[in-house]
Structure formats: C-alpha cells, structure tokens
C-alpha cells in the first residue's frame, strides 16, 4: 500500500512559517549573491569547491542564461525571503532525476543574521513539500560537511535521516573531513505530515 496523506489540504507551496520562495530580478539577486560569496565561512559551509569570486555582472549573466534556456524539467531554483521583514536571505536549488524520481537539494542562507533561527529548517520543509507534492519525488537527497552541525540538525528537523558518511572526503585548512549523506523517502515524509495533523 502506498502511504497517503490522511487529510488533503491544498497548501501554498511557496509559503512556510518563516520564509517564502521567490524569483528575484536577476540584477538584485546577483548583487546579493556576489556579496554572500565574499563570506568564505558561508562558502565553506555550503560548498566543497575552493572559494571563488565572480562579479555581479557574471552572476547576473548566469541567472539570465538559466532563464533564457527555458523550462528544464529537472532543474528548479528559488530565492528565499524571510516573511518577517521580506529580506532576501538565501537560495535553494533542486535537481530532479526524472528516471529515478530522486531530488537532490542544495541550500544556502547567505545572510548571517538569519543563521541558527529556524529559517533554513523552514525552507527545507517547504522544499520537501514541493519535491513530494509537486515534483513527484520518491526520495530527496543531500550532502553536508561533517563540520557543519547546524545544517545537519536543521536537515534532521525537516525529516532527513543520515544514510552514511564518506570518510575523509574533503580537505579544508589542511585537514581532511567526512561528508555526510542524508535522505528522506516519500513514505517517511507522508508519515510525518499525518503525525502532525493528528
């Protein structure tokens, strides 16, 4: 038997408790993202590539090109705004594998004042709702650095489970650290929703 939602209620897919998903004017978005990229702590929490600096202009061109390439059924990206003050605080990207109905997610909260206050958790909850309810995902996956426990806890709160760690996967500051891999299945997410509704 396929797990089903006990009560079906059409929810606003783009609005959570603390954040909403938006699309921004490319110029404004590029300016914010270029500013976040200069924060190397943010970069190293979010990514495993070396920190790199690109101009507003270049970032804007990427955003525009993505849009001009047209609808791609496997690629979704959102900006994240805080509901409280409508400030642009981060971004979220989804890669849907249409063959295996799996979504990979990447998220970044670039505004440091909004770290550790539940905004990332809320954005991940929205992301799961969107992935399971709109994209038809059977599972959602992500990777996180072992040195980023704040993100790990946020993902756990949203419903992700740890599925393993690739040992000494990356190198930062001359030290090797593990990468953690997490996933949540459709059934698990639906059970969470049913539990919350009861």
């Amino acid at each position: 038997m396929q797990a089903r939602l006990l009560e079906y209620e059409m929810k606003d897919l783009f609005r959570g408790e603390l954040v909403r998903f938006t699309a921004e004017e490319p110029e404004f978005r590029a300016r914010q993202e270029a500013r976040w990229a200069r924060d190397t702590e943010f970069h190293r929490l979010a990514d495993s590539d070396p920190a790199q600096l690109y101009s507003d202009k270049k970032i804007k061109e990427w955003i525009e090109k993505n849009f001009e390439d047209g609808f791609k059924p496997g690629r979704y990206s959102f900006s994240i705004r805080a509901l409280e003050d409508d400030k642009l605080i981060g971004f979220l990207g989804l890669w849907l594998n249409l063959i295996h109905s799996e979504v990979w997610v990447g998220i970044g909260i670039g505004e440091r004042d909004y770290w550790g206050k539940g905004y990332g958790t809320d954005a991940m909850k929205l992301c799961l709702r969107y992935s399971f309810m709109d994209l038809g995902a059977q599972r959602v996956s992500l990777g996180v650095h072992a040195y980023n426990p704040r993100a790990f806890r946020a993902y756990e709160k949203a419903g992700f489970r740890l599925e393993g760690r690739t040992r000494q996967d990356i190198m930062r500051e001359g030290k090797r650290t593990d990468s953690l891999w997490m996933g949540i299945l459709r059934e698990e997410w639906i059970q969470m929703q049913n539990g919350e509704q009861r």
Partner: protein, 216 residues
C-alpha cells in the same frame, strides 16, 4: 626508490589504451545492445547505440577530458589479441580535495569470470593513488550488482553510504551503495590475485560492470 619502471598501463593479461576510432565503436555498440550489461554499467536508462553514435560519444568524452581535466578514461584491451574488452575510468576528480570516482565495465559475456575486472581495478587503483595522488576514491554501485560488490570487497573497499531506494528498476526501488577506499588502505593491502589462475571461482556472476554512474 621510485618504481617508475613498472608500467601503469600494462597488466598480466590486459592493458589500458586510448580509444581506437576505427575498431572500438562497433564493439561498444554491441555492448549497448546488451540491456543486462547496460543496467549494471549505468543507472541511466539502457538504450542501444549505433557505432556512429558511439563514435560521437568518444569525441565528446575526449573533448571533456581535454577541457575539464577531471576525467581519465581508458580502454581495456586483451594483451593476447588487442581486442577491446572493457572500459575503466576515474571521473569527477576534485583536485583540491584529492578525491574521485572509479568506474569499470567488462563489455561482453565471454570476457567475464576471467579476472579481467580484478586486474583492471588493480591497475586503476594504482593509477589513482600513485599517479594522480588521490587521497580517496569512491564507487557507486546498485545493490543488485553482486559482481561489482564482490570485486570491491576483494579490494577492501568500505561500504560507507546506503542511499535507500534511490533507484527505480523493474517496478521496484533499490538502494544505491557508495564505497570508499583511502590511499593508506590501498597501500597496506596485499594485492589481490591478479592472474587468471589465481582468481577464485566467482560466486555470483563475476563482475560485468562496476558503476552506478549517475550522470551529470
């Protein structure tokens, strides 16, 4: 002493070589018509390719090798008659993190159970650790690929991640396993039997492919 005299691309029964644009496309085209092989080799849907399409893929592959410099791809050939028996590659190399993903396929049924996969993996690991200076390599394998699982365990790869129900095939979902091997673990181990005679009788159908490539 540097052991630079031992050839990186020469094994006991096999060798690594570059693509042969005249002969290889036809052989690899035959492999792509074997759905069983393709489902072991790739998590993307199996689809047959004509030789001319395989040739185009080779061109794209070599362009990628040249431009992105994070991919090493070898054709596995039998030393005896130089025929193509498989492919071996290290992909998605992150140079600043010294890691990469390995992938091996033995294309035709008659070349399985002969220890070619073992020899190819042995050569590929030496290349990864002693030539590319990687610190670790990973391999992604669907849980149903028993040949690949046996081969990795022979080389003491550690099962690190079980991505639950990540694959959809034959009307059900399967786990995708991620294995890892560190340079020190590779250095410490006695080399597994490489020659034909020493290879133990394969319990499952010996490796046809070691992979689970997820595409880009």
């Amino acid at each position: 002493m540097f052991d630079i005299a031992t050839q990186l691309f020469e094994g006991t029964d096999i060798r690594f070589g570059p693509i042969d644009y005249d002969k290889d496309p036809e052989v690899e085209s035959r492999w792509t018509h074997n759905a069983e092989f393709m489902r072991m080799y790739d998590v993307n849907p199996a689809r047959p390719l004509a030789a001319v399409m395989v040739k185009k893929q080779y061109e794209k592959l070599e362009k990628k090798m040249e431009e992105e410099k994070n991919l090493y791809h070898f054709m596995i050939r039998a030393k005896a008659d130089d025929r193509l028996i498989g492919t071996a590659e290290i992909q998605r190399i992150e140079w600043t993190n010294s890691n990469g993903q390995i992938r091996i396929g033995i294309g035709s049924t008659e070349d399985r159970c002969k220890g070619y996969g073992t020899q190819a993996l042995q050569m590929l690991l030496r290349f990864a650790f002693a030539e590319l200076n990687l610190f670790r390599v990973s391999a992604n394998v669907p849980e149903y690929n028993e040949g690949a699982l046996a081969l990795l365990r022979k080389f003491h790869f550690v099962e690190e991640v079980r991505r639950r129900q990540a694959l959809d095939r034959d009307g059900r979902r399967w786990d995708l396993l991620v294995f890892g091997l560190l340079r020190d673990e590779w250095r410490g181990q006695a080399q597994p039997a490489a020659s034909r005679d020493e290879v133990p009788a394969p319990s499952a159908d010996e490796v046809s492919a070691l992979s689970g490539d997820e595409g880009a």
